[in-house]
Structure formats: C-alpha cells, structure tokens
C-alpha cells in the first residue's frame, strides 16, 4: 500500500517537495513511516528529531497504525500567531 506524507515549512524546503510517497507491504505504524522517510530522504533526519506526525488532522503517537485512507502529515515545531 502507498502512504503519502505531506510536508511543511522547513521539511518541505529540505525535501524539495510538498509530499513524499512511501510504499509498505501492510499498514505501517507512525514509527515505521518515520523510519522510511529518513531512509528515503536522509537530509530530513535532523529536523525530524523534533517533528510530530499527524494522522487525519490529529497528532499521532508513534505506535498508531496507518491505513491506506489516512492522511499523514509531518509537523515541524509550529510557529503561528
């Protein structure tokens, strides 16, 4: 199954793309998505040390399992306001 991860701000800038598509044999956990992202784009490793993940618009824990209809976002530390 394919999981697309949306990227923002400095993560988007580093990756050079607004999203990255990852391929998994079965529904991965957030931790597995994280690991796959770093393998595909090692330059993201530094910033990902302080990133959160969002699944379907909610902050997700590392052990949450992602299905193929989930929207996944990589959330760098926010700075709105």
């Amino acid at each position: 199954m394919k999981i697309r991860v949306m990227l923002f701000a400095v993560a988007k800038q580093i990756a050079g793309a607004p999203e990255i598509e990852l391929e998994f044999a079965a529904g991965p956990t957030v931790a597995e998505v994280r690991k796959a992202l770093i393998q595909l784009c090692p330059d993201l490793a530094d910033v990902m040390a302080c990133c959160m993940f969002a699944v379907n618009n909610e902050y997700a824990s590392m052990d949450q399992v992602i299905s193929d209809d989930c929207e996944v976002g990589l959330i760098p530390p926010v700075s709105g306001g």
């Binding site: 923002f8 701000a9 400095v10 976002g73 530390p77 926010v78 700075s79 709105g80 306001g81």
Partner: protein, 142 residues
C-alpha cells in the same frame, strides 16, 4: 468565526462576530509582524499552514475554551502568505459576561494556538536571509 485567510484580516468583522447582548466584555488579541526581533530587522513574514488540520484545531480550540469559560462569542482568524511589518497575522476575539474570563480565554487561546496549531512562519530579513521558524523550546514569541 474560524477562518484562514490570504488577505488582510478584517478586524471590525471579527469584533462584530463576537458581539452579543449578553456580553459585558470583549478582548481582542492581534499578532502583528514586528520589525525587530532580538536586533534583527524583518521586512515581512511568510506564513503557511496545514490547512485542514489547522482549521480543525482552531475550531477545537474554540470548543475547549467554551468548556473552560462562559464565552458568548469566540473568533480565531489566521492569515497566511506574506504579512508585511505592521500588519496582522492573527486575530482572536472573545466576548464574555464579565471581563476576567475574556482576558483569560483570549490569552489561553493564543498561547495554545502557538503551541499546537500547524502554522509556520518564515522570517524574511532586511539582509536578504530567510528562515523558517521552528521553536524547539519555550522561547518567548509575540
């Protein structure tokens, strides 16, 4: 009123949206692009957001505030795109019967928005440098 806009925020309409006859107090917070931060000169900020999540989190903030304080009206409007020095990036308005709750709720909403809602700002400095701001500690921000 919970909105993400890419144009200047219409502050009078934000205030009108929280007006009610049961209201004795209204507190409005405006965050504006500041020219100098720790001595560095900013020309403008560029904001981006995770639109669907940000809007949902803004609405959830309004709901959580309603559970904490007797709020008559609540509005959160955030601007994205370029915001020049002196212009407003975020407007938060809260109206309540008595003033203590309006101050507490407005301050709680902006504090929580700055910690939890997926907006990001890029500083565009006078010296040409550009930098995404990703606070990793509790450094004070306006």
């Amino acid at each position: 009123m919970f909105e993400i806009v890419d144009q200047p925020i219409d502050v009078p309409s934000v205030l009108r949206s929280v007006a009610a006859h049961s209201t004795g107090a209204t507190v409005l917070f405006l965050g504006t692009t500041r020219q100098f931060t720790y001595g560095k000169e900013t020309i403008q900020l560029e904001y981006e957001c995770y639109h669907a999540m940000a809007l949902q989190k803004m609405q959830a903030l309004g709901q959580r505030a309603l559970e904490k304080w007797p709020i008559e009206g609540c509005a959160i409007v955030h601007r994205i795109g370029l915001v020049p020095v002196g212009e407003t990036s975020v407007a938060i308005a809260v109206s309540t019967p008595h003033r203590v709750a309006a101050f507490e709720a407005a301050e709680w909403i902006i504090d929580t928005l700055k910690r939890e809602v997926p907006f990001w700002k890029k500083e565009m400095y006078a010296d040409g440098q550009q930098e995404w701001i990703h606070p990793t500690d509790n450094s004070p921000t306006p």
